[in-house]
């Protein structure tokens, strides 16, 4: 992880797009913490345009999509991120929690039953 961070930092230092993407991620995170999820989503999406195919950016986009009620899009974004980095822990954990939520509240009962979906606890 340290190596990845250092390499990201080095890349950001030499690449203006990566530097701007990193700044957008920070602003997006701050907006999300304040509950401004529309702004957060826009900033994460901008970061993704600047540096595409980054699982950590896709993770944040998926979470922001969830918070904005775009559940179907969030599902696809999580899957896209996991295709790029299947072992990303945060992404995997979020995806599992999202699947539980999706099966319980969004998917039709037949689909949920097929997927073995049970009622999710409050904190899923």
């Amino acid at each position: 992880m340290l190596a990845a961070t250092i390499s990201t930092g080095v890349a950001a230092a030499g690449n203006p797009d990566a530097k701007e993407a990193s700044a957008e991620m920070k602003w997006g995170f701050k907006a999300a913490r304040r509950g401004y999820w529309q702004e957060a989503l826009l900033r994460f999406e901008h970061a993704n345009e600047l540096t595409p195919n980054q699982p950590r950016i896709l993770n944040n986009i998926a979470v922001a999509q969830e918070a904005n009620g775009l559940f179907e899009m969030a599902l696809l974004t999580y899957q896209e991120g996991l295709t790029l980095e299947p072992n990303n822990n945060a992404l995997r954990r979020n995806y599992m929690r999202f699947q539980e939520f999706y099966a319980s509240y969004i998917a039709p009962p037949e689909t949920a039953a097929e997927e073995g979906g049970e009622d999710a606890p409050e904190d899923n």
Binding site: M1, L2, A4, T5, I6, T8, G9, S22, M25, K26, F29, A32, R33, W37, R56, I57, N59, N60, V63, E66, A67, G69, A90, R93, N94, R97, F98, F101, Y105, I106, P109, D119, A120, E122, D123, N124
Partner: protein, 230 residues
């Protein structure tokens, strides 16, 4: 001494880099649309609440109490949490059938409710309650903190309480059309010595409450997600 200070600094820098690279858990409220698009002006009649025991079983006192308590619970939830306008009970209303599936085909019955009290919607249900009083041993995996090996051990498991199986329907009384159908199961744990007391049968049943409210009004579900900060 100086070398140690430099080492410590390097470790601190590395640690801060790792922390900044990591994700943070945050709480989000996910907003869900209601199942039924109501505008809040509808007159809602609650009933009938039918008892549908499992095949080969007779109606018992627990079923009668559960049906009565569920009606009180349902009225409370719909009035307090969904803020619907509920109509008073029709004392002389007798459903011609005790099977909800059959009753749903009887459009005249639902139209009669509308004629009696101008109800727009009727919220009816059938309930099946089962008293669970099970205790026994089960085998579970156990990782020893001493040697880290996995062992199997026998554990006493008690499952005592009320198990509910509820079918709730929302019917448009003008046409007898079923607008929504919701199958809900929930479990109310009770200590063995309180199984004979049929009180507080629907207290703190959050799954049931959440599902019922979600049919009529928007709601928010609190979840946790990991978010990268940079």
């Amino acid at each position: 001494m100086r070398r140690k200070t430099i080492e410590l600094l390097v470790i601190l820098v590395a640690l801060s880099a790792v922390c900044s690279a990591g994700s943070r858990e945050i709480r989000i409220a996910l907003h869900l649309d209601p199942e039924l698009p109501l505008d809040g002006t509808e007159n809602v009649y609650v009933g009938p609440i039918l008892i549908e025991p499992r095949e080969g079983e007779n109606v018992q006192s627990v079923d009668l109490t559960a049906a009565r308590e569920f009606e009180i619970f349902l009225r409370k939830i719909l009035r307090r949490d969904a803020q619907l306008h509920l109509l008073p009970q029709l004392e002389d209303l007798q459903p011609p059938r005790n099977n909800l599936a059959a009753l749903l085909l009887d459009t005249d019955f639902w139209k009669a409710i509308r004629e009696e009290n101008a109800a727009d919607l009727a919220v009816a249900a059938s309930i099946d309650v089962k008293v669970l009083d099970r205790a026994g041993y089960t085998t579970e995996e156990y990782v020893s903190p001493q040697d880290g090996k996995t062992y199997f051990r026998q554990v006493m498991v008690e499952e005592t309480g009320f198990s509910y199986d509820i079918l709730l329907v929302v019917v448009e009384t003008e046409t007898g059309t079923v607008l929504h159908r919701e199958q809900i199961t929930d479990f109310q744990p009770k200590s063995e010595r309180k199984l004979e007391e049929y009180t507080d049968m629907f207290t703190d049943l959050y799954t049931l409450q959440n599902r019922l409210v979600g049919i009529f009004v928007p709601r928010a579900v609190q979840v946790k997600r990991a978010l990268y900060s940079n």
